[in-house]
Symmetry: C2
Amino acid sequence: MGQPLDQKTADLLGRPNFATVSTLRKDGTVQGVVVWVDADADGNLVLNTAEGRAWRRNVARDPRITVTVPNAENPYEFVSVTGRVVHEDHESADAHIDAMAKKYLGQDTYPFRQEGEVRVKLTVEPDRVTHFTGG
Amino acid sequence: MGQPLDQKTADLLGRPNFATVSTLRKDGTVQGVVVWVDADADGNLVLNTAEGRAWRRNVARDPRITVTVPNAENPYEFVSVTGRVVHEDHESADAHIDAMAKKYLGQDTYPFRQEGEVRVKLTVEPDRVTHFTGG
């Protein structure tokens, strides 16, 4: 159970800003990928991916993750969250990706779903939250 | 000496797109920061920071770095480069940050320079380059 996100961070994550998700490969290098991101009421970040993707396999092996989100309207402002994947959920993952499609695309249903794809919702509990306001 | 970047990656880096730079903290977690980025003619990425910054200290200890750059006009397209900082240069760093100010701000001189700041130019040789075109 974390503490709620500060208001500026919650605002940034509430808008359709894209996140760079950084995970650790087996060889210790960092993998980077750009994805949608959400926050929950408990101050966690929520991500959604498909089984089999490289970064999803990375966090299955090592739950440490860093999520960096620039404000698309002013990239000199960004938030970076370092934490751990503390919960994985398949059951609610399809409804959640539809909700993210609403947020990012204004569509009721996620339009990029692929045949046979198994979605997974990942909850990230923050250990450090840094908010930069640039310059 | 690497090989030249592919054309689509070079185009993405040639435009004023912002990079998320991921480096490794002493404790093994990833630090994320959003910065300007450039490429050189030898297929390397070029970054510019100030002495004392956390991520600069990280790469001084462990040169492994991942640079992820979404296309600001279409964030479903992005490139992610994993490599190593192979060269550090103070001498050309001030001229280089001015050149980046031209690219990103259309200004001849970097306007965010701080009193006493020592700039350093970091050259990153790619080991892996991945270009995603999204969906």
